[in-house]
Amino acid sequence: MKMKTYIARRLGFALFSLLGLSILVFYLARVIPGDPVLMMVPPGTSPDVIEALRQRLGLKEPLHLQYLFWLGDVFRGDLGFSVYTQRSVTNDVLEYLPISLELVVLAALMEIAGSFLLGVLAGTHAYKWPDNLVRIASYIGISVPAFVWAIVFQLIFALQLSLFPTGGLLDSQYMDVIRARRVTGFTSLDSLIAGRFDAFVNFVWHATLPALALCIGGMAQDARIIRAGMVENKEKEYIAMATSQGLPQRLVMFKYLLKPSIIPAVTVMGMDIAAMLGNAFLVEKVFRWPGFSQHAIAAMLRSDLNTIVATVIVIGIIFAIVNIITDIMVAYLDPRIRLMEKGE
Protein backbone atom coordinates (compact mmCIF):
# COMPACT_ATOMS: atom_id res chain seq x y z
CA MET A 1 0.00 0.00 0.00
CA LYS A 2 1.18 3.48 -0.65
CA MET A 3 2.84 5.52 2.05
CA LYS A 4 0.12 8.15 2.01
CA THR A 5 -2.70 5.69 2.52
CA TYR A 6 -0.69 4.03 5.25
CA ILE A 7 -0.17 7.28 7.07
CA ALA A 8 -3.78 8.29 6.65
CA ARG A 9 -4.96 5.00 8.02
CA ARG A 10 -2.62 5.20 10.97
CA LEU A 11 -3.70 8.73 11.75
CA GLY A 12 -7.30 7.61 11.67
CA PHE A 13 -6.57 4.88 14.16
CA ALA A 14 -4.62 7.29 16.27
CA LEU A 15 -7.58 9.64 16.47
CA PHE A 16 -9.76 6.76 17.50
CA SER A 17 -7.44 5.69 20.28
CA LEU A 18 -7.12 9.29 21.41
CA LEU A 19 -10.85 9.46 21.81
CA GLY A 20 -10.81 6.34 23.91
CA LEU A 21 -7.89 7.73 25.86
CA SER A 22 -9.71 10.96 26.56
CA ILE A 23 -12.69 9.13 27.99
CA LEU A 24 -10.45 6.99 30.15
CA VAL A 25 -8.50 9.90 31.49
CA PHE A 26 -11.55 12.10 31.93
CA TYR A 27 -12.95 9.52 34.28
CA LEU A 28 -9.64 8.92 36.04
CA ALA A 29 -9.04 12.61 36.53
CA ARG A 30 -12.24 12.96 38.46
CA VAL A 31 -11.34 10.09 40.66
CA ILE A 32 -8.00 11.55 41.71
CA PRO A 33 -8.08 12.79 45.30
CA GLY A 34 -8.38 16.49 45.75
CA ASP A 35 -10.92 19.16 45.14
CA PRO A 36 -9.65 21.80 42.72
CA VAL A 37 -11.89 24.52 44.06
CA LEU A 38 -10.95 23.96 47.68
CA MET A 39 -7.31 24.12 46.73
CA MET A 40 -7.80 27.31 44.81
CA VAL A 41 -9.33 29.52 47.45
CA PRO A 42 -8.21 30.29 51.00
CA PRO A 43 -10.03 28.45 53.75
CA GLY A 44 -12.08 31.36 55.01
CA THR A 45 -13.89 31.79 51.72
CA SER A 46 -17.64 31.70 52.07
CA PRO A 47 -19.41 28.53 50.92
CA ASP A 48 -21.53 30.61 48.53
CA VAL A 49 -18.47 31.71 46.65
CA ILE A 50 -17.19 28.14 46.54
CA GLU A 51 -20.48 26.88 45.17
CA ALA A 52 -20.56 29.68 42.61
CA LEU A 53 -17.05 28.73 41.52
CA ARG A 54 -18.04 25.14 41.11
CA GLN A 55 -20.91 26.29 38.97
CA ARG A 56 -18.69 28.51 36.84
CA LEU A 57 -16.15 25.80 36.29
CA GLY A 58 -18.83 23.38 35.24
CA LEU A 59 -18.03 20.93 38.00
CA LYS A 60 -21.60 20.40 39.03
CA GLU A 61 -22.82 18.75 35.89
CA PRO A 62 -23.06 14.98 35.63
CA LEU A 63 -19.92 13.35 34.33
CA HIS A 64 -21.03 12.47 30.82
CA LEU A 65 -22.35 15.97 30.22
CA GLN A 66 -19.07 17.43 31.38
CA TYR A 67 -17.30 15.20 28.92
CA LEU A 68 -19.53 16.17 26.04
CA PHE A 69 -19.16 19.89 26.76
CA TRP A 70 -15.45 19.39 26.89
CA LEU A 71 -15.38 17.49 23.61
CA GLY A 72 -17.38 20.22 21.93
CA ASP A 73 -14.96 22.82 23.21
CA VAL A 74 -11.98 20.87 21.99
CA PHE A 75 -13.24 20.94 18.44
CA ARG A 76 -13.37 24.69 18.71
CA GLY A 77 -9.81 24.73 19.96
CA ASP A 78 -10.75 25.43 23.56
CA LEU A 79 -9.22 23.03 26.01
CA GLY A 80 -11.05 24.43 28.99
CA PHE A 81 -10.16 26.55 31.96
CA SER A 82 -7.28 25.77 34.24
CA VAL A 83 -7.94 26.38 37.92
CA TYR A 84 -4.24 26.09 38.55
CA THR A 85 -3.14 28.98 36.36
CA GLN A 86 -6.51 30.74 36.24
CA ARG A 87 -6.53 31.02 32.46
CA SER A 88 -7.34 28.87 29.48
CA VAL A 89 -5.54 25.56 29.15
CA THR A 90 -4.92 26.29 25.48
CA ASN A 91 -2.95 29.31 26.59
CA ASP A 92 -0.90 27.17 28.95
CA VAL A 93 -0.24 24.52 26.33
CA LEU A 94 0.88 27.09 23.77
CA GLU A 95 3.20 28.64 26.30
CA TYR A 96 4.76 25.61 27.92
CA LEU A 97 4.66 22.88 25.32
CA PRO A 98 7.14 24.40 22.85
CA ILE A 99 9.63 24.79 25.65
CA SER A 100 9.45 21.13 26.56
CA LEU A 101 9.46 20.10 22.94
CA GLU A 102 12.69 21.96 22.31
CA LEU A 103 14.32 20.17 25.19
CA VAL A 104 13.00 16.78 24.11
CA VAL A 105 14.06 17.29 20.50
CA LEU A 106 17.58 18.17 21.53
CA ALA A 107 17.68 15.23 23.92
CA ALA A 108 16.30 12.93 21.23
CA LEU A 109 18.96 13.98 18.75
CA MET A 110 21.63 13.43 21.36
CA GLU A 111 20.16 10.06 22.21
CA ILE A 112 19.92 8.83 18.63
CA ALA A 113 23.40 9.93 17.70
CA GLY A 114 24.95 8.77 20.93
CA SER A 115 23.34 5.36 21.02
CA PHE A 116 24.20 4.71 17.38
CA LEU A 117 27.79 5.59 17.93
CA LEU A 118 28.15 3.61 21.10
CA GLY A 119 26.06 0.68 19.90
CA VAL A 120 27.86 0.29 16.61
CA LEU A 121 31.19 0.72 18.32
CA ALA A 122 30.39 -1.97 20.82
CA GLY A 123 28.76 -4.26 18.26
CA THR A 124 31.56 -4.17 15.76
CA HIS A 125 34.16 -4.80 18.43
CA ALA A 126 32.12 -7.30 20.37
CA TYR A 127 33.79 -8.84 23.42
CA LYS A 128 36.79 -6.57 23.13
CA TRP A 129 37.59 -3.54 25.20
CA PRO A 130 35.44 -0.94 23.42
CA ASP A 131 32.49 -3.23 23.92
CA ASN A 132 33.20 -3.69 27.61
CA LEU A 133 33.79 0.00 28.11
CA VAL A 134 30.50 0.85 26.47
CA ARG A 135 28.75 -1.79 28.51
CA ILE A 136 30.02 -0.45 31.79
CA ALA A 137 29.26 3.12 30.83
CA SER A 138 25.77 2.12 29.83
CA TYR A 139 25.09 0.36 33.12
CA ILE A 140 25.97 3.52 34.94
CA GLY A 141 23.80 5.49 32.56
CA ILE A 142 20.74 3.35 33.03
CA SER A 143 20.89 2.71 36.71
CA VAL A 144 20.66 6.28 37.82
CA PRO A 145 17.36 8.13 37.39
CA ALA A 146 17.43 11.07 34.97
CA PHE A 147 16.89 13.64 37.61
CA VAL A 148 19.76 12.41 39.72
CA TRP A 149 21.93 12.90 36.65
CA ALA A 150 20.40 16.34 36.42
CA ILE A 151 21.43 17.14 39.99
CA VAL A 152 24.89 15.64 39.54
CA PHE A 153 25.51 17.52 36.28
CA GLN A 154 24.30 20.70 37.85
CA LEU A 155 26.59 20.27 40.82
CA ILE A 156 29.63 19.36 38.76
CA PHE A 157 29.32 21.43 35.60
CA ALA A 158 27.33 24.38 36.83
CA LEU A 159 28.54 24.81 40.37
CA GLN A 160 31.95 23.26 40.71
CA LEU A 161 33.33 23.97 37.25
CA SER A 162 31.05 26.87 36.32
CA LEU A 163 31.02 25.74 32.72
CA PHE A 164 27.27 25.79 32.28
CA PRO A 165 24.43 27.84 33.70
CA THR A 166 22.48 26.66 36.74
CA GLY A 167 19.16 26.77 35.01
CA GLY A 168 16.56 28.70 33.10
CA LEU A 169 16.08 29.14 29.39
CA LEU A 170 18.24 32.13 28.70
CA ASP A 171 20.22 34.76 30.48
CA SER A 172 17.96 37.62 31.40
CA GLN A 173 19.21 40.16 28.90
CA TYR A 174 18.31 37.82 26.04
CA MET A 175 15.06 36.81 27.65
CA ASP A 176 13.66 40.32 27.43
CA VAL A 177 14.45 40.57 23.73
CA ILE A 178 13.20 37.17 22.73
CA ARG A 179 10.00 37.35 24.69
CA ALA A 180 9.14 40.72 23.27
CA ARG A 181 9.40 39.33 19.76
CA ARG A 182 7.70 36.00 20.27
CA VAL A 183 6.64 34.38 17.04
CA THR A 184 6.64 30.64 17.43
CA GLY A 185 7.05 30.16 21.15
CA PHE A 186 10.16 28.10 20.51
CA THR A 187 13.03 30.01 22.05
CA SER A 188 15.55 28.63 19.58
CA LEU A 189 13.47 29.49 16.53
CA ASP A 190 12.43 32.85 17.89
CA SER A 191 16.01 33.87 18.51
CA LEU A 192 16.99 32.86 14.99
CA ILE A 193 14.01 34.70 13.52
CA ALA A 194 14.95 37.76 15.53
CA GLY A 195 18.43 37.55 14.10
CA ARG A 196 20.04 37.09 17.46
CA PHE A 197 22.50 34.28 17.03
CA ASP A 198 24.02 35.07 20.37
CA ALA A 199 20.69 34.38 22.00
CA PHE A 200 20.49 31.12 20.10
CA VAL A 201 23.89 30.03 21.32
CA ASN A 202 22.97 31.07 24.83
CA PHE A 203 19.86 28.96 24.61
CA VAL A 204 21.70 25.86 23.41
CA TRP A 205 24.21 26.42 26.20
CA HIS A 206 21.36 26.44 28.73
CA ALA A 207 19.69 23.42 27.17
CA THR A 208 22.73 21.18 27.05
CA LEU A 209 22.81 19.90 30.61
CA PRO A 210 19.10 19.15 30.95
CA ALA A 211 18.99 17.47 27.54
CA LEU A 212 21.98 15.36 28.44
CA ALA A 213 20.44 14.33 31.75
CA LEU A 214 17.21 13.39 29.97
CA CYS A 215 18.75 11.27 27.28
CA ILE A 216 21.54 9.44 29.07
CA GLY A 217 19.35 6.66 30.40
CA GLY A 218 17.73 6.03 27.06
CA MET A 219 21.02 6.38 25.23
CA ALA A 220 22.59 3.72 27.38
CA GLN A 221 19.66 1.38 26.90
CA ASP A 222 19.47 1.83 23.15
CA ALA A 223 23.20 1.41 22.71
CA ARG A 224 22.90 -1.94 24.40
CA ILE A 225 20.01 -3.01 22.23
CA ILE A 226 21.84 -2.03 19.06
CA ARG A 227 24.91 -3.85 20.25
CA ALA A 228 22.88 -6.90 21.12
CA GLY A 229 21.19 -6.87 17.76
CA MET A 230 24.46 -6.58 15.92
CA VAL A 231 26.07 -9.37 17.90
CA GLU A 232 23.10 -11.60 17.26
CA ASN A 233 22.81 -10.92 13.58
CA LYS A 234 26.52 -11.19 13.06
CA GLU A 235 26.23 -14.89 13.37
CA LYS A 236 23.59 -15.19 10.78
CA GLU A 237 24.10 -17.06 7.58
CA TYR A 238 23.58 -14.21 5.24
CA ILE A 239 26.38 -12.25 6.85
CA ALA A 240 28.68 -15.22 6.54
CA MET A 241 27.68 -15.54 2.94
CA ALA A 242 28.31 -11.89 2.17
CA THR A 243 31.70 -12.04 3.82
CA SER A 244 32.61 -15.26 2.09
CA GLN A 245 31.75 -13.68 -1.21
CA GLY A 246 34.51 -11.19 -0.60
CA LEU A 247 32.46 -8.08 0.18
CA PRO A 248 34.48 -5.55 2.17
CA GLN A 249 33.85 -5.69 5.89
CA ARG A 250 32.61 -2.13 6.13
CA LEU A 251 30.05 -2.73 3.46
CA VAL A 252 28.87 -5.86 5.19
CA MET A 253 28.74 -4.03 8.49
CA PHE A 254 26.69 -1.08 7.39
CA LYS A 255 24.59 -2.45 4.62
CA TYR A 256 23.70 -5.88 5.85
CA LEU A 257 24.27 -5.89 9.54
CA LEU A 258 23.18 -2.53 10.76
CA LYS A 259 19.74 -2.33 9.27
CA PRO A 260 18.12 -5.37 10.87
CA SER A 261 20.03 -4.80 14.10
CA ILE A 262 18.51 -1.46 14.71
CA ILE A 263 14.90 -2.45 14.27
CA PRO A 264 14.29 -3.28 17.93
CA ALA A 265 16.30 -0.23 18.90
CA VAL A 266 14.22 2.05 16.72
CA THR A 267 11.08 0.77 18.38
CA VAL A 268 12.38 1.36 21.86
CA MET A 269 13.91 4.68 20.92
CA GLY A 270 10.63 5.91 19.57
CA MET A 271 8.81 5.06 22.74
CA ASP A 272 11.59 6.47 24.90
CA ILE A 273 11.51 9.78 23.14
CA ALA A 274 7.76 10.04 23.29
CA ALA A 275 7.90 9.16 26.98
CA MET A 276 10.55 11.81 27.59
CA LEU A 277 7.96 14.51 27.31
CA GLY A 278 5.99 13.10 30.21
CA ASN A 279 8.94 12.03 32.31
CA ALA A 280 10.94 15.21 32.02
CA PHE A 281 9.28 16.94 34.92
CA LEU A 282 11.93 16.40 37.55
CA VAL A 283 14.70 17.40 35.18
CA GLU A 284 12.70 20.48 34.28
CA LYS A 285 12.28 21.30 37.94
CA VAL A 286 15.96 20.91 38.70
CA PHE A 287 17.02 23.16 35.84
CA ARG A 288 14.14 25.62 36.25
CA TRP A 289 13.03 24.81 32.74
CA PRO A 290 9.46 26.20 32.51
CA GLY A 291 8.23 23.27 30.51
CA PHE A 292 5.02 21.40 29.95
CA SER A 293 5.89 18.34 31.96
CA GLN A 294 6.56 20.10 35.23
CA HIS A 295 3.49 22.24 34.69
CA ALA A 296 1.34 19.17 34.09
CA ILE A 297 2.53 17.39 37.20
CA ALA A 298 2.01 20.47 39.34
CA ALA A 299 -1.49 20.90 37.95
CA MET A 300 -2.19 17.23 38.54
CA LEU A 301 -1.26 17.53 42.17
CA ARG A 302 -3.71 20.39 42.43
CA SER A 303 -6.46 18.39 40.80
CA ASP A 304 -6.67 20.69 37.81
CA LEU A 305 -8.87 18.40 35.79
CA ASN A 306 -8.75 20.20 32.47
CA THR A 307 -4.98 20.35 32.44
CA ILE A 308 -4.75 16.69 33.28
CA VAL A 309 -6.94 15.70 30.37
CA ALA A 310 -5.24 18.13 28.01
CA THR A 311 -1.83 16.78 29.02
CA VAL A 312 -2.82 13.24 28.27
CA ILE A 313 -4.27 14.22 24.92
CA VAL A 314 -1.19 16.16 23.94
CA ILE A 315 1.13 13.37 24.98
CA GLY A 316 -1.17 10.91 23.25
CA ILE A 317 -0.95 12.85 20.01
CA ILE A 318 2.82 12.98 20.24
CA PHE A 319 2.99 9.28 20.98
CA ALA A 320 0.82 8.55 17.98
CA ILE A 321 2.99 10.66 15.72
CA VAL A 322 6.19 9.13 17.03
CA ASN A 323 4.76 5.63 16.68
CA ILE A 324 3.82 6.30 13.10
CA ILE A 325 7.28 7.59 12.36
CA THR A 326 8.78 4.55 14.07
CA ASP A 327 6.59 2.20 12.08
CA ILE A 328 7.58 3.95 8.87
CA MET A 329 11.23 3.62 9.75
CA VAL A 330 10.86 -0.05 10.58
CA ALA A 331 9.08 -0.56 7.27
CA TYR A 332 11.92 1.23 5.53
CA LEU A 333 14.51 -0.85 7.29
CA ASP A 334 12.82 -4.12 6.58
CA PRO A 335 11.80 -4.25 2.94
CA ARG A 336 9.85 -7.42 3.49
CA ILE A 337 7.29 -5.56 5.53
CA ARG A 338 6.80 -3.07 2.77
CA LEU A 339 6.60 -5.80 0.19
CA MET A 340 4.14 -7.72 2.26
CA GLU A 341 1.97 -4.66 2.64
CA LYS A 342 2.06 -4.20 -1.10
CA GLY A 343 1.11 -7.76 -1.69
CA GLU A 344 -1.98 -7.58 0.46
Binding site: F13, F16, S17, L18, L21, L24, V25, L28, A29, V31, I32, P33, N132, R135, Y139, I140, I142, S143, V144, P145, F147, V148, I151, V152, L155, Q221, R224, I225, A228, G229, V231, E232, E235, K236, I263, P264, T267, V268, M271, A274, G278, N279, L282, A296, I297, M300, L301, I308, T311, V312, I315, G316, F319, A320, N323, D334, R336, I337, M340, E341
Partner: protein, 297 residues
Protein backbone atom coordinates in the same frame (compact mmCIF):
# COMPACT_ATOMS: atom_id res chain seq x y z
CA UNK B 1 5.24 -36.46 19.07
CA UNK B 2 7.69 -36.00 16.27
CA UNK B 3 9.21 -32.58 16.10
CA UNK B 4 9.72 -30.74 12.89
CA UNK B 5 13.29 -30.68 11.80
CA UNK B 6 13.90 -27.27 10.41
CA UNK B 7 17.31 -25.81 10.11
CA UNK B 8 16.49 -22.93 12.44
CA UNK B 9 14.97 -24.90 15.28
CA UNK B 10 17.28 -25.47 18.17
CA UNK B 11 15.07 -27.67 20.19
CA UNK B 12 15.70 -30.68 18.03
CA UNK B 13 18.71 -31.52 20.19
CA UNK B 14 18.23 -34.00 22.94
CA UNK B 15 17.80 -32.26 26.25
CA UNK B 16 21.10 -32.87 27.95
CA UNK B 17 23.15 -31.98 24.91
CA UNK B 18 21.04 -28.94 24.59
CA UNK B 19 21.66 -27.86 28.17
CA UNK B 20 25.38 -28.41 27.91
CA UNK B 21 25.55 -26.40 24.74
CA UNK B 22 23.60 -23.59 26.34
CA UNK B 23 25.93 -23.47 29.28
CA UNK B 24 28.94 -23.44 27.02
CA UNK B 25 27.63 -20.47 25.11
CA UNK B 26 26.73 -18.73 28.31
CA UNK B 27 30.05 -19.25 30.00
CA UNK B 28 32.11 -18.16 27.03
CA UNK B 29 32.09 -14.67 28.40
CA UNK B 30 33.54 -14.10 31.89
CA UNK B 31 31.24 -11.10 32.20
CA UNK B 32 28.23 -13.34 31.99
CA UNK B 33 29.56 -15.44 34.82
CA UNK B 34 30.12 -12.28 36.77
CA UNK B 35 26.55 -11.31 36.03
CA UNK B 36 25.29 -14.62 37.28
CA UNK B 37 27.25 -14.21 40.49
CA UNK B 38 26.17 -10.63 41.07
CA UNK B 39 22.50 -11.28 40.45
CA UNK B 40 22.64 -14.32 42.69
CA UNK B 41 24.10 -12.21 45.45
CA UNK B 42 21.39 -9.61 44.90
CA UNK B 43 18.67 -12.23 45.06
CA UNK B 44 20.27 -13.73 48.13
CA UNK B 45 20.31 -10.36 49.83
CA UNK B 46 16.77 -9.82 48.67
CA UNK B 47 15.61 -13.04 50.23
CA UNK B 48 17.50 -12.92 53.50
CA UNK B 49 17.99 -9.23 54.14
CA UNK B 50 15.99 -8.98 57.37
CA UNK B 51 18.18 -11.67 58.89
CA UNK B 52 21.57 -10.40 57.87
CA UNK B 53 21.34 -6.65 58.28
CA UNK B 54 22.96 -5.08 61.34
CA UNK B 55 19.89 -3.06 62.40
CA UNK B 56 16.69 -4.69 61.19
CA UNK B 57 14.52 -2.20 63.03
CA UNK B 58 15.89 0.67 60.97
CA UNK B 59 13.66 -0.47 58.15
CA UNK B 60 10.61 0.59 60.09
CA UNK B 61 9.41 3.53 62.13
CA UNK B 62 12.69 4.25 63.77
CA UNK B 63 14.47 7.41 64.71
CA UNK B 64 17.58 8.27 66.62
CA UNK B 65 18.26 11.91 66.12
CA UNK B 66 21.53 11.89 67.98
CA UNK B 67 23.13 9.66 65.39
CA UNK B 68 21.83 11.43 62.33
CA UNK B 69 23.94 12.20 59.25
CA UNK B 70 27.00 10.32 60.36
CA UNK B 71 29.36 10.20 57.37
CA UNK B 72 30.38 6.80 56.00
CA UNK B 73 33.63 4.98 56.71
CA UNK B 74 34.15 6.82 59.94
CA UNK B 75 32.07 5.00 62.45
CA UNK B 76 32.36 1.27 62.90
CA UNK B 77 28.74 0.98 63.96
CA UNK B 78 27.44 2.62 60.81
CA UNK B 79 29.72 1.64 57.96
CA UNK B 80 27.86 3.52 55.27
CA UNK B 81 26.67 6.31 57.50
CA UNK B 82 23.22 7.33 58.66
CA UNK B 83 20.40 9.37 57.25
CA UNK B 84 18.16 12.20 58.52
CA UNK B 85 16.49 9.91 61.06
CA UNK B 86 19.69 8.31 62.24
CA UNK B 87 18.95 5.09 60.41
CA UNK B 88 21.82 2.98 59.11
CA UNK B 89 22.24 3.39 55.37
CA UNK B 90 23.73 -0.05 54.85
CA UNK B 91 20.76 -1.69 56.53
CA UNK B 92 18.22 0.26 54.59
CA UNK B 93 20.00 -0.32 51.31
CA UNK B 94 20.06 -4.04 51.84
CA UNK B 95 16.43 -4.08 52.91
CA UNK B 96 15.80 -1.99 49.85
CA UNK B 97 17.18 -4.79 47.71
CA UNK B 98 14.48 -7.05 49.02
CA UNK B 99 11.75 -4.57 48.52
CA UNK B 100 12.79 -3.36 45.09
CA UNK B 101 13.52 -6.81 43.71
CA UNK B 102 10.20 -8.06 44.91
CA UNK B 103 8.47 -5.22 43.18
CA UNK B 104 10.38 -5.70 39.94
CA UNK B 105 9.81 -9.42 40.00
CA UNK B 106 6.10 -9.09 40.56
CA UNK B 107 5.55 -6.50 37.90
CA UNK B 108 7.60 -8.28 35.29
CA UNK B 109 6.02 -11.64 35.91
CA UNK B 110 2.62 -10.04 35.49
CA UNK B 111 3.59 -8.15 32.41
CA UNK B 112 5.96 -10.11 30.24
CA UNK B 113 3.84 -13.12 29.43
CA UNK B 114 0.65 -11.34 28.36
CA UNK B 115 2.59 -8.63 26.55
CA UNK B 116 4.71 -11.06 24.59
CA UNK B 117 1.79 -13.27 23.68
CA UNK B 118 -0.22 -10.33 22.43
CA UNK B 119 2.75 -9.04 20.46
CA UNK B 120 3.33 -12.42 18.87
CA UNK B 121 -0.28 -12.78 17.85
CA UNK B 122 -0.39 -9.26 16.45
CA UNK B 123 2.89 -9.75 14.63
CA UNK B 124 1.85 -13.01 13.07
CA UNK B 125 -1.43 -11.57 11.90
CA UNK B 126 0.15 -8.36 10.76
CA UNK B 127 -2.04 -6.26 8.57
CA UNK B 128 -5.26 -7.87 9.74
CA UNK B 129 -7.76 -6.66 12.27
CA UNK B 130 -6.20 -8.64 15.13
CA UNK B 131 -3.03 -6.68 14.67
CA UNK B 132 -4.85 -3.37 14.57
CA UNK B 133 -6.97 -3.99 17.63
CA UNK B 134 -4.12 -5.20 19.79
CA UNK B 135 -1.74 -2.49 18.76
CA UNK B 136 -4.23 0.32 19.15
CA UNK B 137 -5.21 -0.83 22.62
CA UNK B 138 -1.58 -0.95 23.57
CA UNK B 139 -1.13 2.53 22.15
CA UNK B 140 -3.80 3.83 24.48
CA UNK B 141 -2.13 2.36 27.52
CA UNK B 142 1.31 3.52 26.51
CA UNK B 143 0.12 7.05 25.96
CA UNK B 144 -1.37 7.55 29.40
CA UNK B 145 1.34 9.21 31.44
CA UNK B 146 2.29 6.71 34.13
CA UNK B 147 1.57 9.13 36.90
CA UNK B 148 -2.00 9.79 35.83
CA UNK B 149 -2.74 6.13 35.60
CA UNK B 150 -1.06 5.42 38.89
CA UNK B 151 -2.73 8.35 40.60
CA UNK B 152 -6.10 7.25 39.33
CA UNK B 153 -5.70 3.68 40.46
CA UNK B 154 -4.14 4.49 43.77
CA UNK B 155 -6.87 6.92 44.63
CA UNK B 156 -9.66 4.46 44.12
CA UNK B 157 -7.73 1.88 46.05
CA UNK B 158 -5.42 2.44 48.95
CA UNK B 159 -2.10 4.07 48.14
CA UNK B 160 0.21 1.19 48.87
CA UNK B 161 2.88 -0.78 47.14
CA UNK B 162 0.64 -3.53 45.86
CA UNK B 163 -1.67 -1.16 44.05
CA UNK B 164 1.25 0.81 42.73
CA UNK B 165 2.58 -2.41 41.24
CA UNK B 166 -0.79 -2.99 39.60
CA UNK B 167 -0.65 0.49 38.15
CA UNK B 168 2.89 0.03 36.88
CA UNK B 169 1.97 -3.33 35.36
CA UNK B 170 -0.95 -1.83 33.50
CA UNK B 171 1.28 0.64 31.77
CA UNK B 172 4.18 -1.70 31.24
CA UNK B 173 2.74 -4.56 29.19
CA UNK B 174 2.31 -2.56 25.96
CA UNK B 175 6.05 -2.09 25.72
CA UNK B 176 6.53 -5.83 25.47
CA UNK B 177 3.68 -6.17 23.06
CA UNK B 178 5.17 -3.52 20.84
CA UNK B 179 8.70 -4.87 20.92
CA UNK B 180 7.57 -8.42 20.27
CA UNK B 181 5.29 -7.19 17.54
CA UNK B 182 8.04 -5.40 15.71
CA UNK B 183 10.50 -8.24 16.00
CA UNK B 184 8.06 -11.01 15.18
CA UNK B 185 6.44 -9.18 12.30
CA UNK B 186 9.87 -8.73 10.78
CA UNK B 187 10.36 -12.42 11.19
CA UNK B 188 6.99 -13.39 9.94
CA UNK B 189 8.11 -13.75 6.38
CA UNK B 190 11.33 -15.61 6.98
CA UNK B 191 11.66 -18.82 5.13
CA UNK B 192 11.38 -21.05 8.10
CA UNK B 193 8.00 -19.65 9.00
CA UNK B 194 6.72 -19.99 5.49
CA UNK B 195 8.07 -23.49 5.36
CA UNK B 196 6.20 -24.40 8.51
CA UNK B 197 3.00 -22.94 7.13
CA UNK B 198 3.36 -24.84 3.94
CA UNK B 199 3.92 -28.01 5.91
CA UNK B 200 0.62 -27.43 7.67
CA UNK B 201 1.88 -26.63 11.15
CA UNK B 202 -0.72 -25.12 13.43
CA UNK B 203 -0.64 -21.42 14.18
CA UNK B 204 0.07 -22.20 17.80
CA UNK B 205 3.09 -24.23 16.83
CA UNK B 206 4.38 -21.60 14.46
CA UNK B 207 4.01 -18.77 16.92
CA UNK B 208 5.39 -20.48 19.98
CA UNK B 209 7.82 -22.95 18.59
CA UNK B 210 9.19 -21.18 15.55
CA UNK B 211 8.85 -17.46 15.98
CA UNK B 212 9.07 -17.08 19.74
CA UNK B 213 12.47 -18.70 20.27
CA UNK B 214 13.93 -16.30 17.78
CA UNK B 215 12.38 -13.32 19.48
CA UNK B 216 13.76 -14.26 22.83
CA UNK B 217 16.96 -12.31 22.36
CA UNK B 218 15.56 -8.77 22.42
CA UNK B 219 12.84 -9.75 24.86
CA UNK B 220 15.26 -11.15 27.39
CA UNK B 221 17.54 -8.20 26.98
CA UNK B 222 14.60 -5.96 27.69
CA UNK B 223 13.52 -7.97 30.74
CA UNK B 224 16.91 -7.63 32.32
CA UNK B 225 16.98 -3.93 31.61
CA UNK B 226 13.47 -3.53 32.91
CA UNK B 227 14.38 -4.79 36.35
CA UNK B 228 16.09 -1.47 36.74
CA UNK B 229 13.39 0.60 35.05
CA UNK B 230 10.63 -0.77 37.26
CA UNK B 231 12.64 0.15 40.32
CA UNK B 232 13.14 3.65 38.94
CA UNK B 233 9.48 4.10 38.05
CA UNK B 234 8.65 2.98 41.56
CA UNK B 235 10.75 5.83 42.82
CA UNK B 236 8.97 8.32 40.62
CA UNK B 237 5.65 7.14 42.01
CA UNK B 238 6.88 7.40 45.58
CA UNK B 239 7.81 10.91 44.77
CA UNK B 240 4.19 11.98 44.46
CA UNK B 241 3.05 10.01 47.45
CA UNK B 242 2.15 6.66 45.89
CA UNK B 243 3.95 3.39 45.89
CA UNK B 244 6.21 2.78 48.80
CA UNK B 245 4.87 4.51 51.87
CA UNK B 246 7.46 5.75 54.32
CA UNK B 247 9.32 4.38 56.13
CA UNK B 248 9.49 1.42 53.72
CA UNK B 249 13.05 1.20 52.41
CA UNK B 250 12.58 1.34 48.66
CA UNK B 251 15.83 2.02 46.83
CA UNK B 252 14.29 4.35 44.28
CA UNK B 253 12.48 6.36 46.94
CA UNK B 254 15.61 6.71 48.99
CA UNK B 255 17.53 8.00 46.00
CA UNK B 256 14.80 10.44 44.98
CA UNK B 257 14.03 11.99 48.33
CA UNK B 258 17.60 12.22 49.50
CA UNK B 259 19.16 13.42 46.25
CA UNK B 260 16.77 16.32 46.05
CA UNK B 261 17.62 17.73 49.44
CA UNK B 262 20.91 16.46 50.65
CA UNK B 263 23.21 16.42 47.67
CA UNK B 264 26.07 17.01 47.93
CA UNK B 265 26.46 17.71 51.62
CA UNK B 266 25.12 14.37 52.78
CA UNK B 267 25.77 12.49 49.59
CA UNK B 268 25.86 9.04 51.14
CA UNK B 269 22.12 9.01 51.82
CA UNK B 270 21.35 8.92 48.10
CA UNK B 271 24.55 7.63 46.48
CA UNK B 272 24.62 4.28 48.26
CA UNK B 273 21.03 3.37 47.42
CA UNK B 274 21.80 4.48 43.86
CA UNK B 275 24.79 2.17 43.87
CA UNK B 276 22.46 -0.54 45.08
CA UNK B 277 20.25 0.01 42.07
CA UNK B 278 23.31 0.08 39.85
CA UNK B 279 24.54 -3.23 41.21
CA UNK B 280 21.18 -4.87 40.63
CA UNK B 281 21.07 -3.54 37.11
CA UNK B 282 24.65 -4.49 36.41
CA UNK B 283 24.15 -8.01 37.64
CA UNK B 284 20.92 -8.61 35.78
CA UNK B 285 22.16 -7.06 32.58
CA UNK B 286 25.32 -9.09 32.48
CA UNK B 287 23.19 -12.11 33.22
CA UNK B 288 20.84 -11.09 30.45
CA UNK B 289 23.67 -10.73 27.98
CA UNK B 290 24.80 -14.22 28.81
CA UNK B 291 21.27 -15.53 28.44
CA UNK B 292 20.98 -13.90 25.09
CA UNK B 293 24.30 -15.37 24.06
CA UNK B 294 22.79 -18.74 24.88
CA UNK B 295 20.19 -18.24 22.21
CA UNK B 296 22.62 -17.12 19.56
CA UNK B 297 24.24 -19.62 17.29
Amino acid sequence: MEKMRLFKTIKQSPRWEYAKRMWYKFSRSPLSIAGLLISSVCIFIGLFAPYIVPYPEHGGLFHNFEDRFIPPFQNSSYILGTDYYGRDVLTRTMLGFQYSLMMAGTVLSLVVVPGVILGLVAGYHKGRWVDTVIMRISDVFIAVPPLVLALGICSVLEPNIFNAMMAVSLMWWPWYARLTYNVSSAMRNEYFVQAAEVMGASTFHIIFKEILPNCLGPILTKVTLDVGWVILIGSALSFVGLGAQPPTPDLGTMVATNAEKYMPDFWWTSIFPALGIAIIILGFNLLGDGVRDMFTE
